[in-house]
């Protein structure tokens, strides 16, 4: 009897904590999004979806931009991470853990500080641009900060390790005898890669996409620090609605829409690829 109760007693505190500070707030936010009002006069339920329709029509372009940036930065992460993960998994030999460790070094610097450091690197008269301008290689008014390129660069940089790890883990698990078998059956190196290695490593890529696309789409720090007025993402809008306009109902509606869009996205994605792979890979 006691044995049967044990798991429930063990999971109770964590479950309660997550219920009170994770599940309940999201329900509160949903209820907030169906209200009208302001901080001074208080808020009242209207049970209208008008915050949602208004939010989508006003900020639809910002939603689209966030998803677009998310796609661009995620694609950049895959393109940059895959070859490196491949080399570390198959060719690095005894230095595997050293190289992995080097890949994870950014995690030892505070996220915000890393982003601010990019501002240093890309500053108009900073180390890179300043030097090139001094050598007369760039026009004096050339700038990177405040452009889409700078924002994508920051987003890619900040979330790249989340892509390297799952791809590396997937490649690492591949049985080397399969590669030998492919060679024995006269597959060229390219064919071996395309028909054996790539398909077997795809679950890692899928997991990497979940782990990068979601935080990238919801990010507002990179757009704020590195971008300009033309790079406002939905995260920035939500932040401003909460803190500058104090329009809590609208902000809640936008935040809930973002979560809904990402959830539906993940769900379809997981269905398309088989839920098990994505959940398993994400659970690691």
């Amino acid at each position: 009897m006691r044995r049967r109760l044990t798991p429930y007693l063990l999971i109770l505190p964590g479950g309660l904590w997550l219920t009170v500070f994770f599940a309940v707030p999201i329900i509160m936010m949903l209820s907030f999004s169906l209200m009208e009002g302001n901080l001074i006069d208080g808020f009242a339920f209207t049970f209208h979806w008008q915050n949602y329709t208004e939010g989508l029509s006003t900020y639809g372009d910002k939603f689209a931009r966030s998803l677009w940036y998310g796609l661009l930065a995620t694609a950049a992460c895959i393109a940059l991470a895959y070859p490196a993960a491949y080399w570390i998994a198959f060719k690095a030999g005894r230095n595997k853990s050293t190289y992995l460790f080097l890949m994870l070094l950014p995690f030892f610097v505070s996220f915000i500080l890393r982003t601010v450091s990019w501002k240093f690197v890309l500053a108009d008269n900073g180390i890179v641009l300043g030097t090139l301008k001094d050598w007369g290689l760039l026009a004096q008014d050339f700038h990177v900060l405040g452009t889409t390129f700078a924002v994508i660069c920051g987003l890619t940089y900040n979330f790249l390790p989340f892509m390297v790890l799952p791809i590396y883990v997937a490649l690492e698990k591949i049985d080397h005898r399969l590669l030998e078998a492919a060679q024995d059956l006269y597959a060229s190196r390219v064919q071996t890669f395309l028909r054996v290695v790539l398909p077997l490593s795809l679950p890692g890529v899928f997991a990497g996409v979940v782990m990068t696309f979601i935080p990238i789409s919801a990010d507002y720090v990179n757009a704020d620090v590195l971008g300009g007025s033309g790079n406002v993402m939905i995260g920035n809008v939500i932040y401003l609605e909460y803190f500058n306009n104090s329009d809590y109902p609208m902000a809640s509606a936008l935040s809930f829409t973002l979560m809904g869009a990402l959830l539906v996205g993940i769900f379809l994605y997981a269905r398309l690829l088989g839920t098990k792979d994505v959940l398993e890979a994400a659970g690691r």
Partner: protein
């Protein structure tokens, strides 16, 4: 051709590592910059004076103390709660396990912006004053899932017959846990604790939404971007980086030693 390909990818990996550590190098270097202006990104000469004047900016020091204190408290609470949950999920089969796993997955994959803004929505509706305590509550909330998953992975790989053997020899449930189970899952618990600490010290978004007027180190850095980030921030970042790397290296070496003996 084959050699070339291997070489090329090796070179590529090195370039990528270079790109990853470029901003870190810049951060460390500008902690030694003898800057005279508020904007610290033009090199003006080498100095170590910022290391001597590390705690001159009182509000920045306070922010760092807040960050470390919250991280410490959050780590202690999270490690206990998260380890319990990890044990339950890795060791037992019970009703509601699937739901629990799904909640953990949701807690790991929900964007921080949504977590932070929903917490703010709740605190506003309940008129909860935001500050040190709300930050702590939020940090424990988002760390639990990571610790639970880390511990669960360790528990799943354990041999249950060892615990049964302890029970056969007359050990009570608590004694078995203390003398058999806990030592075996300790590496997982420690890894989870370190992860919780790192997540808490580094967290910006959720803290930003739940902080009220309390300032943590990341929030201070964020607000300084408008006026100019002082070199002390670089020095603190450098020291946090150094401590983190040393702890990680120590763990790597310790793990290697365990394997060879």
């Amino acid at each position: 051709m084959r050699l070339l390909k291997g070489r090329f990818l090796h070179l590529y990996t090195l370039v990528l590592v270079g790109w990853l550590i470029l901003p870190i190098t810049v951060m460390i270097a500008f902690g030694f910059n003898d800057t005279t202006s508020k904007q610290n990104f033009v090199w003006e000469g080498f100095t170590v004076k910022w290391y001597a004047q590390l705690f001159d900016k009182e509000d920045l020091t306070q922010a760092l103390v807040n960050s470390l204190l919250i991280a410490l408290l959050s780590t202690v609470i999270t490690t206990v709660i998260g380890t319990m949950a990890g044990l339950a999920l890795g060791r037992f089969r019970f009703k509601g396990q699937g739901v629990s796993n799904l909640v953990l997955f949701a807690a790991i994959s929900t964007p921080e912006l949504v977590m932070g803004s929903s917490l703010l929505a709740m605190f506003v509706q309940f008129n909860t004053p935001r500050g040190f305590v709300t930050i702590l509550l939020a940090h424990v909330m988002f760390s639990i899932a990571f610790v639970a998953v880390t511990v669960r992975a360790r528990v799943v790989g354990l041999d249950p017959s060892l615990e049964e053997a302890a029970a056969d020899l007359g050990a009570s449930g608590w004694t078995t846990f203390r003398l058999v189970t806990l030592p075996m899952i300790m590496p997982g618990v420690m890894a989870g604790a370190m992860l919780a600490f790192a997540l808490s010290v580094d967290d910006f978004v959720i803290t930003n939404f739940t902080s009220g007027s309390t300032v943590t180190f990341p929030l201070w850095v964020w607000s300084s971007t408008r006026t100019g980030t002082p070199p002390q921030v670089n020095v603190m970042g450098t020291l946090i980086f150094a401590v983190g790397v040393l702890v990680a290296l120590y763990n790597l070496v310790a793990a290697r030693r365990r394997r060879t003996t």
